[in-house]
Structure formats: C-alpha cells, structure tokens
Symmetry: C2
C-alpha cells in the first residue's frame, strides 16, 4: 500500500485524488489546502485540513499547487527527510525546500475541470534527487495505470515546452480555423474528423513524413490564393510563418 | 445503383475506388488514367483504359487528378451534358468545362497512400451547378457512409484554407515539438497522448474555451523561460507569434 498526502485543490490535485482513490494499492490519508472550503465536498471521504501542523506520516507528499506557490508551501512543511514531489512541468526541482527528499511527478496531459480522463493516457514524467525514490514514484504511476518515464531537468523542460506547441499553439490553430469557417457561415464541426486524423497520423508516421499541403508542395498559386482570402493580419502572419517553417524543414 | 467512372490514379482516386467497390449501391464501370501503368494492378477488377474516346455511360464522372490537370482533362472529355465533378478543395467549379453539368465532391480529409481510412470520418463537401445534381452526389456520399454538406464556392474555399491550419500547420507544430524533444534526447512518443487529447477536447469545448497555457494566463515568467530555451530562430518566431495570437484572441 502506498500512503499519499495531497497538497492543493486545483484541477491536477482533484484528478489525482480521484485516480488515487480508485486504486486498491493507494491510500490518500490526508488532503491539505490553505483554503479548506475548496475541499469541503470531499470531507466525508478523506481527512481534509488547513492547519500546517497537522500533517501525518505518508510515503509521498504531492504538492499540486500553482507554480508560484510550490516553493513557499514546501518551506512551511513541519517535517523533514520525507519524499515530497511537485507536479509541475516547469518548476525547478530545487525550488522545493531541501529539508525533504525532493522529486517531480509531472503528468503530461491537459486537465479540464469536468472531463473524465483515463490515466492510461497520462504519461508521468518522474524526476528524483535520490535514486531510491524513483521506485516509489514509479510504483505510484503503475498503481494508477499510467505510462512513466524517468527524465532529468532539461528533459522535463523540453517536454513542457514541446507540450505548449502541441497543445496550446495547436489549439490556437483550431481557433483560427474556427474563425475562418465562421466568417463564411460554414460549420466548424466539418473539420473535426480531419483534426483527429491529423493527431492520429503521427502514431505511424513521424511529423516530418506526415507533412502534406501547399507549403510542402511549394504550390505558390494556392498559397497566394489563401493569403488573399485571409482577412485578419495575424492570420496572414501565421500562414506566412508556418509556410516558411515547413519549407525550411523540408529544404524547399 | 449508382454508376461511377473514375478519372485519375492518385491517392484520392484510389481511396475512392476502394470505398466505391465495397459499396453494394455503387458500380465503378470504368477507370481512366492517362498513364495506364498506374492502374495495372486493378485490371482484373475493373475496366481500366487510357484512350479518351472509350468512355461509356455513367451517372457520375469523378475527376480525381491534381489541381492543375482538372481543367484540361475536363475539356478533353468526348461527351456533354453529363454530371462531372472534381474532388479538389481549391479548384473553382468553373474550371470544369461547361459542356457538362458541373459539381464538386470534395472529401475533407488527409489521405495517405497506405493508411486505411473509414469513410464515416470523411465529410464530403458537395457543390453543384444544377440543383437536381445535388441529390445524385448526396446519394453517393450516403452509399459510402460519409457525412455530407452542401457548400457554396466561398465556403469550400474557407474549409480548404481552414484545413491547412488544422492539418498542415498543426503537423508542423508537431514537427517543432519533435525537434525540441530530440534535442534533449527525450522520446517524442511521450507527447502523443497529449496530441490526441488536444484534438479530442474540441469535441466538447470550442477552441476558444479549450485554450490554456502560459499565453492564456499571461504567465510572463514561463514565456520568458521558454523563449530562452528555444535554440532555433524560427521556433522562437513561432512561439512569439502564436503567443501574440492567443493574447489577442482572449483580450490579454
């Protein structure tokens, strides 16, 4: 049995609480948050508290709070030499107070408040200060059915940055497409199968091999027509820059 | 029974031939290509030919050739007042020779040579010159199990342009992510569940509502750190421009 204490009440904390509770190999013995009202709905299921002096013994203390709050909360902890981890893609391991054994348990996925998420689809990137702690965190990932990967700090930073491209920036391209279709009164939903197939394609082909389209073909006529069709300056800028990037990548 | 003649031997032509052949409601009576060798492998299954004078009677003649060849091939056809359609997202309906009844049967999807594709996931955008022809093309879409949408020329142009954003440009963002992970020796595969979840998320949330990340939060510290981490100028340019686009979209 792995005994876990959760700190924080946000999206990630709540998704982790849910999946930990569902595992027979994990017990969440306590759940801390500075503002107890955000945990009230769980009070019948778990020991919730807001008094920093009341921490009990656990195998892992998981700090799932906003990036800026990680350092402060880790300093306030009234114990030492325990395994504490944060869940952030971008916070340095050393921002955790060094009185405890430090690690990172970073779930590389997009979490929505209400969306159900299967943790089989949530890779856990594990970083540890002390080698022995890797196995504890690996076992935790296994207990929730997640793939896990040991990474170092620059690798976690690279993954977090790459995630901005494949998640945040990709979503903004969807937004641009939404604006383009809406401007002609045509249903954005028509694009959804293509959106999914594009994501699926990189399962079997590298993005390099999967590339198609006017930029890749150097189809100047279509590129010119597209640029003439775009109304918004920023849409034109995105079209020009990503066309340039595709050409550079493929030596065109 | 819908009698169809296919013209062309590329990806789209081959995928259409396959799905038409599998439908009990469709007969492909002939398959034309200028270079017969590209059709040789189908010669036992269908009447293949390269002599423009040998066309037989069909309900629909589907011209699935490269954009630049559509006009020329439609001019050469030795018959008139039949229903001819092209399959391109960007070629004008009027590039088809006007001696025949003209239309467009545009499958809005990314086709790979070897990948199996379920036509339930291939929306067909239908454009017609004569209203009565819409039903013929609609029935063809139904016979292959595809969703179908009647569009006008500006709407088809908007969909084709939007498809470049959600397919070609999105794939290039995957490529950038691949370069970023590779530069730290970390496995690009770790990002695939996130890539899929990002595509899935717009099923239930608009791209506007689905947006997250440092740009949306105006998290200047993370943005600065990311820009300092990026090695390639063009990666920096993409990061800056898409961050700006997200901020503009969300009024930040």
């Amino acid at each position: 049995m792995i005994i876990v204490t959760i700190l924080g009440a946000g999206n990630v904390a709540q998704h982790l609480y849910k999946v930990f509770s569902a595992s027979v190999e994990i017990t969440v013995n306590q759940w801390y948050n500075r503002h107890l009202e955000h945990l009230q709905m769980f009070k019948n299921d778990v020991d919730i508290f807001d008094d920093i002096s009341l921490f009990k013994e656990a195998d892992i203390y998981i700090i799932a709070v906003s990036d800026d709050a990680v350092a402060e909360i880790s300093e306030q902890l009234p114990f030492s030499n325990k395994l504490i981890v944060h869940t952030s893609g971008s916070v340095n391991l050393h921002h955790l107070d060094k009185k405890n054994r430090r690690g990172v348990f970073y779930p590389l996925q997009t979490f929505s408040k209400n969306a159900e998420l299967n943790f089989n689809d949530v890779p856990i990137c594990i970083e540890v200060e002390h080698k022995a702690d890797y196995h504890v965190l690996k076992d935790l990932a296994i207990a929730i059915g997640s793939p896990y990967h040991r990474v170092n700090s620059p690798q976690r930073a690279a993954l977090h940055l790459a995630a901005v491209f494949v998640n945040n920036f990709t979503n903004q391209l969807y937004r641009v497409a939404h604006e383009i279709t809406e401007s002609e009164g045509v249903d954005f939903n028509i694009l959804k199968p293509l959106i999914k197939e594009t994501a699926k394609k990189v399962d079997t082909l590298s993005p390099f091999m999967a590339q198609t389209g006017p930029a890749k073909r150097n189809d100047k006529k279509t590129i010119k027509k597209h640029l003439a069709t775009l109304d918004k300056e920023i849409h034109k800028d995105i079209y020009i820059l990503l066309t340039k990037a595709i050409k550079e990548t493929h030596g065109i």
